[in-house]
Each structure stands twice: as C-alpha cells, then as structure tokens.
C-alpha cells in the first residue's frame, strides 16, 4: 500500500497539468512544491497603482547586489520591488558555471512556479520541428510527429484559453483560439508591407494565453476575461492569463484527489531494484530541514528541465550509479534555450493621428520563414520575431523642452515606433549540460548545479542574419530612424526556456524518455517538463510542455489500469 497513487514533483507549468490530469482520472495525487504557498489575495500585487509602488518599483541597488544579482540583470523588465517575492534570491539558491561559460538560471520557487511570471506567448510546434533532426542528421530523431500531438494541443488550448488568430500557416499550425488582440493600424501597414515585399513571410497577431471569451469551464474556475492592464508579471486578480494557480491546480483541487505540500525539496527518488520501479520520493523540508519519505505507484517529474535532471542525477543506486534512468548518459545533456539579441526598431510614420486604448498582453509575431519558405540560408533552422508597433507616448523625460509645453507634450501619443526581436532555435549539443557540482552543496545539503553551456556557430550566424532581416523588413515598411544594435547574443538560459536535459527518443541507448515521456529504464517514472524536448524549435515552448504532459498522463493511467505499471 502506497501513500499516494502518484507523486508530481513541481507545481508549475507542467506540474499543474500532471496534477489535473491524474486527479481527474481518479488517482490520489501528491504535489510537491519546493517553495512556499502563493495566495493571490495575499501575494499578488497587480492592483498597485504607480503611486503606491515604492521607489518607482525599483529594487534597491544594495538588495540587487546581495540577493538578486542573477535574477535582476537577467530579467530586469519583470523583477520589481513589488513582485520580488516571485523570484528566488540568488544567494539562497546558488549555482555555478564552468570557467569561460555563463548561464542565467532564472527561477521562481512557490506555488505554480514560473507559470505566474511567464510571458504567455503560446505557439504550437510545426510538422517540420519534429522531423528536422532526422532530416538534417542532427542529434536524434523525435519519436513523435505533429499529427500525434495535435489532438493534445487542441485539448490543452481549449482549457488554457489562448487568444489568437487562425492564420493558416503550415509551419505554425492554428489551434483552438479565443478572439485575438487586433493589430494596430501601424502593425497592419507593416504586415502588408512585409508580406508584399517578402512573399514567404507573415506578420500575425501574437498568440497569448489570455482569456478574451471565457468559457463556462473557465468561469467555473473563477477566471474572467483579460482586462488589458498589462500587469501580468505581478499576478492577475482576474485570473485572465493561464497559470497553474489560476487553472490546473484549482481543477485538480476540486476533484478532492489532490494533496499539495509546500516547502518540500525533493532530494532523491527511491528505486526498488527487484521490482524495477520507483517506490517514492525523499524530501527535505525547506523550513525545518525535516526529512520525509512519500511512497507512490507513479512519479511525474515536473520540477523544470534543470531541476528534474538534477533529481535524477542525485538518485544514484547500484542499478543506476550515474543517476536514475540514466543508462544512456543523456540526463543533463543537450540543454537548450532560445536565443535572442538581434532585432531592430524604428519610427513607422503616418499614424500620428491615432492612439490606442488599453494595454494588451502581446503584439505581433513573425513566424519562422528561414529554411521553410526561404531556402538556402547560411545556417540551419530559424527564428521567429516578437514585437509591436505603438505610440512612443511618455518618453520618460527624454524629449526637449521645459515648462507647460514639455508637460503637455506627454499627453500626446507622439510618433509610433515599431520594434521586433528574434527568438531563434538553439541546436542540441550533448556537451551543453548541467551536472551536479562535485563538492558544493546548498544549505539543505543538495549538490548545486554546475552549468557548461555555450553556443555554436549556427546560433551566431543565425542571429547575425536575423538582425539584417529585421532591418530589411523595417525598411520595407518605410520606417525611419531605424536602430539595430550589433548582435548581443543572450546568455544561455536567459530566455527562460530551458529544455532537453532528458530527451525523448526511440533508442534507449541514446535517449532518456520514450515517446510518452516515460523513462526507458523505469516504467513508472515520467518526465514531462521541458526536459523531454529532443530539439528546441523556435517557438515559445510552454504550450508544448502542456500538450505532452496531458498526453503522458493519459498514457500512464492507461498503463496503470492495464496493470503494466
């Protein structure tokens, strides 16, 4: 007899889905969250008006130097005085990098993890993304094709609520969408200019996980439509954007089958060599240092690509001396992120008699065209651009003038500026990896992460070309005052899309997971956070994590029902 039918490690983007799907299928589920509980009514700060934000919502410089020396530089646009409790303190959660390398590990340890701080861009992977490795002889083949995962995208999108337009693009398949946020006229002009000048390129509405036409199911969970406040990094009292806290965890909770324990840091998974099964999870309480063991028939790792890999590496046994489910030696390897640092901005003229009302959560997206509709690029794979065109508005005082004229100039929306920035695909490389530090531990005695990640030539060449393309598209729209800084490739991890550290594949000798996100080595162990990704594609990945998680849960429960596990 086990304590629970299933244990889900992590309550974030994918962990919430594991909890929901397993609970709704009747399993008694324990969710382990390493951080404290977040209560929206207590911890959200989205309702603070500007004049109640301390010090322009800036964290003091001394506090940044002491506690947020990685988090703040890495994601300064989102880490503020009022919401700093959503981000880890770097001095309390250290990690290191191999000399000569850098890594941004940007995290939130609390209920729902980073799903309460994400940027909500939600794009499906396309058919080409599942075949690229095989076609190009890169890494290993995905064991899944788009048609297999498509129904699960449909399934999760309907529950999540994604605002977007159906654009009919093969490389960026349409999904189940609520009404999108209409483009500004400047963006429509940019769209027509780009699509006319570059027939293989498209400018579409951003697809974002925000409710615009909430369903009965979403309203039953206490969610309502987006109010166009753009306060999403501070929580959302309306629960309009998707997070575990707003959607999946409440759905799991209402089944009566979920138990969630906070401040429970998973140290190892226990493995029974006779049964060849995981039997449970060993944790240490973050506040009391109390050690506990929870048993279960099934374990889902959803701790994030890095933390899940570290838990496996920490779980050594006679059968798995290099870490649980790691006979392939691929755990911790092939660590990927997306790459940015190339783009352009400029003034887009002719719209000075317009302004906007409201603050929408997403602007435009230019889906990947490189090596799809435009062949023969000097690099493999490609990138998409995110951006927007909007009035410059309040320029923060950086315009000439004093007195009444200067003051009243801020009432005017001013000229319109368009800005686009690339998100490119990083190729899998087994040498890009996270390992356990050989002799340094955190305050709970767990080995800290040691990163060794660097970019290859393809990433550098790709972004140089992305910068040129961005300028060319702005020029095609007649933009003036075009700025395009030299490419400044983002530090690995900085896009907060870490993935690939327990990749799926057909062959147990070179992959950790099978096509169901089930470990080849241990049948009752699944990993459904970003670790499963065999390649990165260039789309923001969260909606893919959700789809694969829901599919894996369905499969796992069927295996349990069939007594296979």
């Amino acid at each position: 007899m086990t304590d629970f039918d299933a244990i889900v490690v992590g309550s974030g983007m994918s962990g919430g889905w594991s909890a929901k799907e397993l609970c709704e299928r009747g399993l008694k589920v324990l969710v382990l969250e390493r951080g404290p509980e977040i209560k929206p009514e207590r911890d959200y700060v989205d309702q603070l008006p500007p004049w109640e934000q301390k010090n322009l919502d800036r964290i003091s410089q001394e506090e940044i130097e002491k506690h947020y020396f990685k988090q703040y530089p890495g994601v300064a646009y989102a880490v503020k005085e009022s919401n700093k409790h959503f981000w880890v303190k770097d001095d309390e959660h250290p990690y290191e990098t191999v000399e000569g390398t850098e890594y941004d590990w940007l995290r939130g340890y609390h209920t729902a993890g980073r799903s309460i701080m994400w940027s909500r861009q939600s794009y499906r992977m396309g058919p080409q993304d599942f075949t690229a490795n095989k076609d190009e002889g890169v890494a290993i083949d995905w064991p899944v094709r788009y048609d297999e995962i498509k129904p699960w995208y449909d399934y999760v999108e309907e529950f999540v609520g994604v605002a977007g337009n159906r654009d009919g693009l093969e490389q960026l398949p349409d999904g189940v969408y609520q009404p999108g946020f209409e483009l500004t006229d400047a963006e429509k002009f940019f769209k027509s200019s780009v699509e006319s000048k570059f027939p293989g390129r498209n400018v579409i509405q951003a697809r974002v996980a925000h409710l615009t036409e909430a369903t009965d199911e979403q309203r039953d969970l206490g969610r309502s439509n987006c109010q166009a406040r753009n306060r999403c990094h501070f929580g959302c009292a309306f629960k309009a954007y998707f997070s575990s806290l707003h959607a999946t965890l409440p759905a799991a909770e209402r089944t009566g089958n979920m138990t969630i324990v906070h401040n429970a840091i998973v140290q190892t998974l226990e493995y029974d060599e006779d049964a060849k099964r995981v039997t449970g999870v060993r944790v240490i309480d973050a506040q009391t240092n109390e050690r506990r063991f929870y048993s279960s028939k099934l374990v889902f790792l959803n701790a994030s690509a890095i933390a899940s890999a570290m838990i496996l590496l920490q779980s050594k046994s006679e059968a798995f001396p290099n870490g649980l489910a790691n006979t392939s030696d691929q755990v911790g390897r092939n660590l990927m992120d997306h790459i940015s640092g190339a783009g352009a901005n400029g003034l887009i003229n002719g719209f000075e008699n317009q302004k906007v009302f409201g603050r929408r959560p997403g602007g435009i997206y230019i889906p990947r065209y490189a090596n799809i509709t435009e062949k023969g690029k000097p690099y493999t794979r490609g990138f998409g651009y995110q951006g927007s065109a909007s009035p410059i508005g309040n320029a923060g005082g950086q315009i000439a003038g004093i007195g009444r004229k200067f003051k009243e100039a801020h009432r005017s929306p001013g000229p319109w500026r368009i800005s686009i920035g690339a998100f490119g695909e990083q190729l899998p490389n087994p040498n890009n990896r996270v390992t356990l530090h050989p002799n340094k531990t955190d305050k709970w005695g767990n080995p800290i992460a040691l990163f060794n990640v660097s970019y290859g030539e393809n990433e550098h060449v790709m972004l140089e070309e992305a910068r040129k393309d961005a300028v060319a598209m702005l020029e095609a729209a007649g933009c003036t005052n075009i700025n395009s800084n030299p490419v400044n490739l983002t530090v690995p991890g900085n896009r907060i899309h870490e993935m690939g550290s327990a990749r799926m594949g057909n062959d147990p000798s070179d992959s950790v997971l099978n096509k169901w996100c089930q470990t080849h080595d241990v049948p009752n162990l699944f990993v459904t956070d970003g670790a499963f990704m065999t390649s990165a594609a260039c789309q923001n990945p969260s909606i893919s994590y959700m789809a694969f998680t829901a599919r894996a849960c369905d499969h796992a429960v069927k295996l349990m029902q069939d007594k296979v596990i």
């Binding site: 309702q47 008006p49 934000q53 317009q354 009302f357 309040n394 000439a400 004093i402 003051k407």
Partner: protein, 172 residues
C-alpha cells in the same frame, strides 16, 4: 497656508532651513522623514532640485512637480534605492548642473531662470553631447516621478487602472 511660489522662494532665500516640501502629498510610497529633514539632499541641493522641478513641470491646470513633491520623492529614492556609488554620482551630477546653470541661479529672477534652464535643455537634447548626460538623467527622474504620482498619472496621463478592453485605433 503658503503658496507653492512662497515655499520655493523661502527655500531659495533661506537655504539653511529645512524643506517644507517634504510634507506635501502626491507620491505615497516614499518614506519621507517626519521631522521635515531630508535624508539625502543637503538643503542647498534640495533648493536646486526644487527649482529645476518647478521649471520643468510647473503647475498649470493640473498640479506640478512641486505640488506632488517630486523633490521629496527623489530624496527618498536616493536615500533608499541608490547604493553609495549612485548616491555619489547623483551628488556630483547636481554639482555639474549647478555649474552649467551658474552659481547665482537661485537668486536670479523667474524669467532669467527659465531662459537659462531652457538654454541648458536645448543643448542637452541637441546632438546628445555627453556633457549634459547628468541633466538629461535628472530630467528623466523628475519626469518619471511626476507621472508616477497620483495627480501626474490620473490628471495628466489619464492613466486607467482597468481599461477592460483593447482598442487598437482611437482617432485623436
């Protein structure tokens, strides 16, 4: 009850006195000293910052930078947010701005002060010379602080807490 001008005049004439501006309202989240003393600015610096604030964002049909206590806000910002290096830089910036405006700046008449600041502003935003980086930075802080105040946000910027919807096309 003194008017804003009287307060400023008092500051300028009697630099040695404490800042009454800190007792004004406007930006709530600054921990202003209750005894009326600045925590970061000297009284002289406070008078300079106050004068510049008043000329950059004056009271019109809506409250100005002095009305919403931007000088007190900046004093609190520097005391609480800035580290020692930024604090030192800010002190040095004020010295440079004082030199650019002239040591007699606080004693000249209103029109002359306005003209002199306008000339400095023109130079600062004409070609982006690095000689005026400090002034541009101070102007940026003053402006950000003003529009973060309740009056600046609601009356001037027409900031709406809960728009409720997105309209990409509003004709002006």
């Amino acid at each position: 009850m003194k008017t804003r001008r009287q307060i400023l005049k008092g500051l300028i004439v009697s630099i040695g006195g404490s800042s009454l501006l800190n007792s004004c309202g406007g930006i709530a989240q600054v921990n202003i000293s209750t005894n009326g003393m600045n925590r970061f600015y000297s009284d002289e610096e406070n008078a300079w910052v106050s004068k510049i604030c008043d000329l950059i964002i004056p009271r019109t049909e809506t409250p100005g930078a002095i009305d919403v206590n931007v000088p007190g806000f900046l004093d609190g910002l520097m005391a609480e947010w800035a580290n020692s290096e930024t604090q030192r830089e800010h002190h040095n910036s004020l010295k440079k701005i004082k030199a650019q405006l002239g040591s007699d700046y606080l004693t000249i008449d209103e029109d002359s002060a306005t003209n002199r600041l306008a000339q400095l502003d023109t130079k600062a935003f004409d070609g982006r010379s690095t000689d005026f980086r400090e002034y541009r930075s101070l102007k940026g802080l003053i402006t950000q602080a003003y529009f973060a105040s309740e009056d600046g946000a609601l009356l001037e910027q027409k900031w709406v807490a809960v728009p409720g919807s997105w309209n990409p096309r509003v004709e002006i």
